[in-house]
Symmetry: C2
Subunit: 219 residues, 2 copies
């Protein structure tokens, strides 16, 4: 397979992309498909998958104010902290790797499997007299982005927040450069209620503003 890559016959659309990539001497990332996606409470069996997504998101350092070098132990302690409801989105994944020129690549339809594609947490934003306001955090695998998974997670999260009788939801720290997230939250009824000047040091853009976003869950 390695030496015959250019001649390889594509058995499906994804294999054709791989073959084209190999012909062009480029690595081709395989994308996940959100077929039969299901959101459910996380279990201990999801910890490895959650850590993989968490690490990927936080290492980029541009959307969360968390140490990009956070340990697996600390990350999972944060994501599964007492009082935190942790959920995962599970979906069909087609392929989970990268086709690299010169290396054998199985047809991704062969390695089709259920995969954890995203995760979110829902918890009280404060204790005591502030425990009726929820806070949430969302992470989506890079392989599953731009397919509506973030919105699906957020809508599910809002529904769960209603079910758990929270009266409002607050995002404490929405980085102003994360325009896709801001648009999504605004579309879901959140408002920017506070601006923290230069509160985040972006790895590429220097000091940028951070927004506090909030929406009521009661009429």
């Amino acid at each position: 397979m390695a030496r015959g890559a250019k001649a390889r016959r594509a058995c499906c659309v994804i294999c054709a992309q791989i073959a084209a990539g190999i012909a062009a001497n480029e690595a081709v990332g395989l994308q996940f498909r959100l077929a039969a996606m299901k959101i459910r409470p996380a279990t201990d069996a999801d910890r490895d998958a959650i850590w993989n997504i968490f690490h990927e998101v936080v290492a980029a350092g541009d959307t969360y104010a968390l140490d990009p070098n956070i340990s697996r132990e600390d990350a999972l302690a944060y994501w599964f902290a007492p009082g935190t409801h942790t959920y995962v989105a599970e979906g069909d994944a087609v392929g989970d790797g990268v086709a690299v020129p010169g290396k054998p690549t199985a047809c991704p339809t062969i390695i089709r499997a259920r995969q954890i594609l995203g995760t979110y947490i829902l918890r009280p934003n404060q204790s005591g007299g502030g425990s009726h306001v929820a806070n949430a955090g969302f992470m989506v695998s890079a392989s599953a982005r731009r397919q509506g998974l973030g919105r699906a997670l957020a809508e599910y999260c809002l529904s769960e927040a209603h079910r758990l009788r929270f009266r409002a939801m607050q995002f404490n720290y929405v980085i102003s450069t994360n325009t896709a997230a801001i648009r999504l939250w605004q579309d879901l009824g959140f408002e920017i209620v506070g601006t923290l000047a230069n509160a985040f040091r972006h790895p590429g853009k220097g000091y940028v503003d951070v927004y506090v976003m909030y929406r009521s869950l009661v009429s």
Copy 2:
């Protein structure tokens, strides 16, 4: 002494108040005096005193979004969390109890002692790209209020934040009914940069707004 309370001679101003209280069949709280007040980093030896103040402040339930029934262990874990700088204000205390009719009461000048009158914490408000913004929390013993200790702690805290090279300070959760604190923070250069509608359930006033307050520490 118990039976001769009414006839007791006052040896000092405070004893005179005690005697008056006993004569009126009332308990008289003794107030601390902020003589020779010193702010310094907390040590393990301060834990009992800090817990006493913490418990007193949080049990009231009207200034912090913390469980009023928080345990000593959880409270001290919060106040001494990793990455948190914890300080105490130590001052001369004259008396530390309440004179109760029918119980012997020593002259408070006899029990004059150094006491922990207040405490504060200073820490990064976020990790990673948000770690240049400080957060702080302040607690003052009820016995030592209205004597400028809160302001002294806050000014010391701002000085420490400068020394530790923080670029801004943020209070995430200033309850709108805590007008004395809001006036103090505004006087020290903080601005209300966000309002969280009905984010706190006040024990006496129901749902009230909460402010996010912020000030830069760089010119």
